[in-house]
Amino acid sequence: MDELMQILEELRPDVDFENETSLIDNSILDSFDIVALVGELNDAFDIEIKPNNLIPENFNSAKAMMAMIEQLQDE
């Protein structure tokens, strides 16, 4: 989780990732952030995020992202 938080904070230091739960629904992260984030997460966690993983529920909060990452690591 720490590694994820570090990536997120470097990506968007202006966002409160600890508490925010509507990152996508409220358009806090834009499409360009997602493009950057997907690349970072794939590298950092050795996973492959597919288009069908790119749904709001997986990216609305740091917690949801972590859950997705763990699930992809298990596969």
Partner: protein, 501 residues
């Protein structure tokens, strides 16, 4: 002859009263509802201001916003659309330039409006939608408009840091819309998917193609661009046939591998503009959707959105140099040397644009207007205004215009002339580079490449060495998570300069 977009609106409403003109994810407006909205707002505003007055409009990303714009036009006035998401300092700057007596906003943005340094009257559009329509007042206001009256003022970033308001006339807008519609073969069966912010120049196609030809526009929610499957679902659910997007928007689904899980089934036409598209992403589109009409456009806001177009008939490869093509109908392109003489055939020169699409200048800024909008130096016999773009171009052997970067991005490095745009084009064709920006640190004589992607600096240098002379290989390679962008989507070079060491 039509004198204004009002003529078009009147005509299209008679023809398709029950058809949908605009739709977003919560509501849909028919042409008649749209028209009545414009008339109520127009009547209300006519009681407050004279014709030919600027009205600032700050309204959200929804189906009513274009109707608010046209409501301003119904009052014989012109609108300056502004984006509430911009920093307040920037909004205040724009308001101080346009000096409008009225700021028309929607309920959602009333609070933002009240926090701005604005002395005029703030009106919430939803509060005046029930204004009783006065046809006499409206026809009187419509008669004041001539084809060269301002239609809107759209603000772009100025190199000096102060935003410039580009004034576009009814004639310019209608000329562009008719020309682009001919190339894209737009008709009443087309459904456009709007990507551009509504206050931005790129949205004029999504607003005025429906008004001119009875087409429909669906305003795609902003957050769907982050979720490619949702984006494609929307395009398919709404049966969208036509996309006029920024290059950045077109590249997104390709970058996120969206085509692995689906594609826009109804899409027939895709035109893009704003920057040079990366061949590798265009190729992904072409492979997934081989029968779509792909059109590369070029042009500044000062020449009404786009002035040249190139229909892409062949599949692109890594080395393709995509031309920006030929002038749209009723657009004139000339290439000038630095000394204002005509360039020789096949030579690079500054792209200058003439014709009825040349803007009326920058609002309340005679000084900058007269520097960019000049008498055609090749014409000594009568008045002919051209706009100097600051962009460089060259006509290739097929008569198509090629884009050769910005004039102000040509640098001399170790005695050689280098186009930073060329460095970027080279870098973009290297595997593992998603986006990049080349810059020159004059004092230290260092060529910088800022990039995003997986490539290592070693890979990049080796690739450069295999295709470029040594002096064109960047010396400093800086990997970034994301290139800083200006509100218009272009790279913010001022921020990148901070990396110079």
């Amino acid at each position: 002859m039509e004198t204004s977009v009002i003529n078009r609106l009147d005509k299209v409403v008679r023809k398709y009263p029950q058809k949908i003109i605009l739709k977003d994810n919560t509501k849909a407006l028919t042409f008649r509802e749209f028209d009545e909205t414009t008339k109520s707002i127009g009547t209300y505003l006519s009681n407050l201001v004279c014709a030919e007055t600027p009205i600032a409009v700050m309204s959200g990303r929804h189906a009513y916003t274009p109707a608010f714009f046209l409501g301003v036009v119904r009052a014989g006035c012109f609108y300056a659309p502004i984006d509430a998401d911009m920093p307040k300092a920037r909004l205040n700057q724009i308001l101080s330039v346009i000096n409008a007596p009225i700021l028309l906003t929607d309920k959602d943005h009333l609070k933002t409006a009240q926090e701005l340094n604005f002395d005029g009257k703030i009106i919430v559009a939803e509060d005046i939608l029930n204004t009783e329509i006065d046809e006499n007042v409206l026809s009187c206001r419509a008669s004041v408009i001539t084809s060269v009256s301002p239609l809107y003022v759209i603000f772009t970033s100025g190199s000096t840091g102060k935003p410039k308001g580009v004034i576009t006339s009814h004639l310019s807008l209608m000329t562009y819309i008719d020309s682009v519609a001919k190339v894209l073969n737009i008709n009443e069966n087309d459904i456009l998917g709007n990507q551009s912010p509504l206050d931005y120049i790129a949205a004029i196609r999504d607003i005025y193609l429906p008004i001119s030809f009875g087409a429909q526009t669906y305003i795609i929610p902003k957050n769907e661009f982050a979720i490619p499957t949702a984006l494609f679902d929307t395009l398919n659910r709404e049966k969208i046939t036509t996309l006029c997007w920024s290059v950045a928007g077109v590249e997104l689904p390709a970058k996120l591998n969206a085509f692995e899980s689906g594609k826009p089934e109804y899409l027939k036409k895709l035109c893009f503009s704003g920057s040079v598209i990366s061949n590798k992403y265009l190729k992904i589109w072409q492979e997934a959707l081989p029968n779509v009409l792909y059109v590369n456009q070029y042009g500044p806001t000062e020449a009404t959105a786009s002035c040249t177009y190139y229909i892409i008939r062949d599949k692109v490869s890594e080395n393709t140099v995509l031309p920006i093509g030929r002038p749209y109908e009723n657009y004139k392109i000339i290439l000038l040397n630095d000394d204002n003489t005509k360039t020789k055939t096949g030579q690079i020169g500054q792209i200058c644009i003439g014709g009825p699409i040349v803007a009326l200048g920058y609002y309340a800024n005679e000084e900058i207007s007269s520097a960019s909008f000049i008498q055609n130096p090749l014409n000594k016999n009568y008045r002919e205004t051209i706009y100097k773009t600051g962009d460089l171009g060259r006509f290739n052997e097929n008569g198509d215009l090629e884009f050769h970067g910005r004039m102000d991005r040509q640098v001399k490095h170790l005695g050689h002339r280098i186009e930073l745009g060329e460095i970027e084009e080279t870098a973009k064709n290297i595997m593992g580079i998603d986006d990049c920006c080349a810059m020159y640190h004059k004092e230290k004589e260092n060529l910088y490449l800022f990039y995003t992607g997986e490539a290592s600096s070693k890979d990049i240098i080796l690739s450069f060495r295999s295709v470029m002379p040594a002096f064109m290989v960047p010396r400093k390679i800086v990997k970034l998570d994301k290139l800083p962008v200006l509100p218009n989507g272009k790279t913010d070079m001022q921020i990148l300069k901070q990396y110079f060491k």
